[in-house]
């Protein structure tokens, strides 16, 4: 029987309503495109809301020596030079304007004594660079974008999930989605589609990510032929909560260290002095995470397998003003008053640096009409993302994706979606509800997380990765036979079926890419290849799904032009070098 459904046509369809998606939708609509944005949750609840520490932008409000050159320099170094230099350049140059634009739209940042936007220090940023509002910057950002969106002629669909992208020949044509509240379908035909669905940290058990981070958009686009790059690069944030069990993995902002918090092992040593004597607690996230991990391995861990984080020396008034959310979070969830006592932290999965391969200037993928921005895209962060660079990323590349998608749509007729493909997808999506037997999505999700933790965690090696890949391929096959009980009305078990399928596909891609990169670099730490190797630093590992299966290939890392490469020859950040010259 043919299922009746809503049908909508748009110039630009944005899938994902976090910071990148909303920024893309705003730009597309302001560019004159008929625009819709689909969100898996209610408006303003997306994972962006959890970003705490700030948005990185070289405004130079507190450190006048800062400028785009130094932000670019810090980003490249932190990425271990396998990122796209052009993306890093665009990002560093445009972030300040994107932050000021938010202020003009109503965002209220903390202020300097001169009344300008306050900026705080953060790991591996040469200067104080993160514009912030206490420790709730992501919420300010998404709320501002939500409020801006409401002033524009954009159709916003809430609690709706896309299950498949369609193509018309080679070009993108739209998607099928279903509404959570009653399970009815809607078909969206669009001239251009922007994927802005965030990362897939929920493939891991100990994670700072919300339930939404299941990589839907990246998986959908991969199935539609888009390339994935750098999938092995998954960021552990050094400081997640360790206790109580239900709170394990919940983020403790890097702002705690930014504002002066210190890390100690069980013997009271400030162990980061060993791993990065110059930057210590404010080293890059890969280094601090590994530091904590190594201390625990060496038997110097805290009772729940982590390190002590201590900011009590800054005093209660300062802590409550600068880190009110952290104060409240630790107090209510763990009965710990961080103004009075140290607390335990351990690495937690935080961010996926890899993802859809996108062109730096337009965020275009290799599929015509399909764009990708934010955490679902690869290229800016390479082997390790700097704190604060994610909020700037979603603003800069969300805007560029929206703009390019609107421009692309101008010269296109509406594509056609094949009815037979739509009906086949409807049947696939409804099948789990009709099965009398099948895998339980909750149990399968747990197994999937176990595989990722056991084989693709902070420490990796070839044989274990290979074994993990085998287990994940087997799980992906089983994921085709899941069963959901109950009706189509707001059914999280049914929804979980597709989450598991998407994460299994991406988990497999992480394992495959981690096997291919035979070195240690940034977030990829292989005990069988402990060194960073020059040859491996020249390539990105790219995967594409074809009719024959997944093909993995290498692509050369784009080489910087001379003027940008020159920044790295002086042994010191450009801002500091310029200052030295002036003296």
């Amino acid at each position: 029987m043919t299922e009746e459904m809503e049908r909508h046509d748009y110039d630009v369809l944005v899938i994902g309503a976090g910071g990148a998606g909303l920024r893309a939708a705003i730009e597309a609509a302001e560019g004159g495109a008929r625009t819709a944005v689909l969100g898996k949750s209610l408006l303003g609840k997306a994972h962006t809301v959890m970003a705490e520490g700030g948005v990185a932008a070289a405004l130079g409000n507190v450190d006048p020596l800062d400028g785009w050159e130094t932000h670019f320099y810090d980003t490249m170094r932190s990425a271990h030079f396998i990122n796209d230099y052009r993306m890093a350049e665009i990002h560093a140059k445009e972030s300040p304007d994107r932050v000021l634009e938010l202020e003009y739209w109503g965002a209220v940042f903390d202020r300097t004594p001169e009344g300008r936007i306050m900026q705080r220090p953060f790991g591996a940023h040469t200067f104080r660079r993160l514009a912030h509002v206490g420790d709730r910057t992501g919420k300010e950002l998404i709320r501002t974008l939500e409020q801006k969106l409401m002033t524009l002629d954009v159709d916003s669909y809430q609690e709706i999930t896309a299950t498949r992208l369609f193509k018309d020949g080679d070009r993108i044509a739209g998607c099928l989605a279903y509404y959570r509240d009653d399970g009815r379908f809607a078909l969206f035909t669009a001239k251009a589609v922007v994927i802005a669905t965030g990362g897939w940290g929920k493939a891991y058990k100990v994670t700072s990510n919300s339930w939404e981070s299941t990589g839907d958009g990246a998986a959908l686009a991969f199935r539609a032929g888009a390339d994935l790059a750098d999938m092995e690069m998954v960021q552990f944030h050094p400081t997640g909560m360790t206790w109580p069990p239900g709170a394990r993995g919940i983020l403790v902002t890097e702002g705690v260290r930014g504002e002066g918090g210190l890390l100690f092992n069980s013997e009271g040593e400030r162990f980061m002095e060993r791993y990065d004597p110059a930057r210590k607690e404010l080293s890059s996230r890969d280094v601090v995470s590994r530091g904590i991990y190594k201390e625990v391995q060496a038997g110097r861990g805290t009772p729940h397998g982590g390190a002590w984080l201590d900011i009590t020396h800054k005093g209660a008034a300062f802590i409550k003003r600068k880190l009110p959310g952290m104060y409240e979070q630790l107090l209510s969830l763990a009965d710990i008053d961080i103004t009075k006592s140290r607390f335990e932290v351990a690495p937690t999965i935080h961010y996926t640096m890899g993802g859809l391969r996108a062109a730096p200037d337009t965020a275009a993928t290799n599929v015509p009409g399909l764009y990708a921005a934010g955490e679902c895209a690869a290229g800016l962060h390479g082997a390790n993302r700097l704190g604060g660079n994610s909020l700037s990323d979603i603003l800069v590349f969300g805007r560029r994706a929206g703009s390019a998608a609107a421009e692309f749509a101008k010269n296109q007729a509406l594509p056609r979606i094949d009815d037979a493909e739509v009906q086949a997808e409807v049947e696939r999506v409804l099948a789990p509800l009709a099965r009398s037997e099948g895998e339980n999505p909750y149990k399968l999700h747990e197994e999937l997380q176990d595989i990722m933790a056991a084989h693709a965690g902070i420490e990796r090696n070839g044989p274990s990765l290979e074994k993990g890949l085998g287990r994940m391929q087997e799980l992906r096959e089983r994921a085709e036979h899941q069963r959901a009980t109950g009706s189509r009305r707001f059914n999280p078990g049914w929804h979980g079926v597709f989450d598991v399928q998407n994460m299994a596909l991406l988990g497999e891609a992480i394992l495959r890419s981690a096997i291919a990169r035979k070195e240690s670099r940034g977030a990829q730490w292989r005990t069988d290849f402990p060194e960073e190797l020059e040859a491996e630093g020249k390539v990105n590992y790219v995967q594409r799904m074809t009719e024959q299966g997944v093909e993995l290939r290498t692509e050369p890392v784009p080489q910087m032009p001379e003027d940008l490469a020159a920044f790295f020859t002086r042994g010191v950040a450009p801002g500091l070098a310029n200052a030295a010259k002036k003296e």
Partner: protein, 242 residues
Amino acid sequence: MPEEITLSVFRGDESGGQEVEYKVPVETGMVVLDAIHYIQAHDAPDLAVRWNCKAAHCGSCSAEINGSPKLLCKTRVDDYAGEVIHVRPMRTFPVIKDLVADVSWNYEKLRQVPAFQPAIKAPFTLQQRDVDRIEEFRNCIECFLCQNVCHVLRDHDAKDRYWGPRLMIRIAELQMHPLDTGDRLELLHEAAGVGMCNITKCCSDVCPQGINITDNGIIPLKERVADLHWDPLGGIVRRMHK
């Protein structure tokens, strides 16, 4: 054997339903949302609950626990030692299914608030003391617990006459922004119905962000509206100097 607790969870939709009891083994520091997730994984895969961050940042998991409006992610089960924990959806809004309420009315009203209209281009020069109050209001996570507990909306269902505390705070953050040139006082007086609030402060009591909704937001707005309507000359002077 780990200690067990009993949750009695509303199962049903707009056509009706009833509470169903589930046994859940307790873990140290467990919150009610953890218990709900346990039930989903073990007993009722289709149990509907709305949640995102599980860290009290997003305001998705609003519900009523033993009659009190709470965030499921922030409410510890050990607060209810020895009791059955009754979990029901917010009462002021239509139920979609189980613990999920239809809060779309709030978004409709949010859309009707005239946006921020700055007097100048960014970058702004603003002192911290000038933005402390609006930062308090912008700390709202849109959980709508204040809307849920407001008598005007909850007991009198007067959604056509009063937009509720969340909307008052949204309007207050705009009206109190030093660089905003918008004027929402007529809106407050008429459609948004600030006069309907009778200052029982229930909204402030349930706010998980600790926003002093009534004292810092609604009462100053009432005063501004009163100035405009009962002291017209003073009102004009104040408007010119805003």
